[in-house]
């Protein structure tokens, strides 16, 4: 096979296996990042690395493969991400699990902004659990396999994430059940 044929085959394989997962990668990158711009950089770096290392991919579980590249890229970019992505949130803002009284909440009228801010305030390991189960619709076991953690860890992160989201959204239209 010539170099040109080799490159063409690589592009075809990328198109077949990786390209369909680009939106998934973008969402996961968002969960690992503090902003949309940071997530965009992470997703693009991950795509470039995936393309270059496609020869080493066995073709099974492309989402898990992309997730691992993205996670390692995020960690290499900033070592502080290691703890944030891999921990169970025990050492991350421990008071945040407490339920605050309604008058302690900052009430803002824009639901999308409220939710985005509440999600951004979660530790990334929590955000990923919510992302995989609530947005991607994964079963606990699927999320655990992808994150390479026990099922109980996924459940714990998910429950605590939702409690924090509920506390952060107290007093908003979402909390009052009036959001459409």
């Amino acid at each position: 096979m010539t170099v040109a044929e080799d490159e063409a085959a690589r592009r075809r394989r990328f198109e077949e296996v990786i390209a369909p997962e680009a939106d998934f990668l973008a969402r996961v990158a968002r969960s690992m990042s503090r902003s949309s711009a940071e997530a965009e950089d992470l997703a693009q770096d991950t795509l470039l690395k995936a393309f270059r290392s496609l020869d080493r991919f066995d073709g099974r579980h492309p989402r898990a493969w992309l997730y691992r590249i993205a996670r390692n890229t995020a960690i290499n970019r900033d070592q502080r991400n290691r703890e944030l992505l891999l921990d169970d949130g025990e050492d991350v803002d421990p008071v945040a699990d407490e339920i605050l009284e309604p008058e302690q909440q900052v009430v803002t009228p824009i639901l999308e902004h409220d939710l985005e801010a509440a999600l951004d305030a979660l530790p990334p390991s929590f955000r990923l659990a919510v992302q995989l189960v609530d947005v991607e619709g994964m079963h606990y076991q699927e999320a655990a396999d992808l994150l390479e953690v026990p099922v109980g860890t996924v459940m714990s992160r998910l429950h605590r994430a939702r409690k924090r989201l509920r506390a952060a959204l107290a007093g908003t239209p979402l909390d009052r059940g009036t959001a459409t």
Binding site: E7, R10, R11, F14, E15, I18, A19, A22, D23, L25, A26, R27, A29, R30, S31, S36, A37, A39, E40, A43, Q44, L47, L48, F51, R52, L111, E112, L115, E116, L119, R127, V130, Q131, V133, D134, V135, G137, H139, Y140, M155, L158, H159, R162, L165, R166, L169, L174, D175, G177, A179
Partner: protein
Amino acid sequence: MSESPTDRSPSCSEALEQLHAVLDGELPSEEARRIIDHLEACPPCELEGDSFRRIKEAVAASGNALDPASLARVRELTDRLCREGVPPTA
């Protein structure tokens, strides 16, 4: 004959413990039904269930996505890699 867990009505603490698994479709239907029956008969637990259901639905609807311009650029790069690959110097 001893009573099995599926023969009796769950307590509030049991219902709340299983609440997320019910919302996430992780329980067998018979077990989920027991919890749902409890929620429907117990206003405090029902309120708790509703609040977490709203959280779950809002997150699912949001997609936790990139802003549209960022997502468009990620898709553009994906398309470019499919068409052109990566230049050796990139």
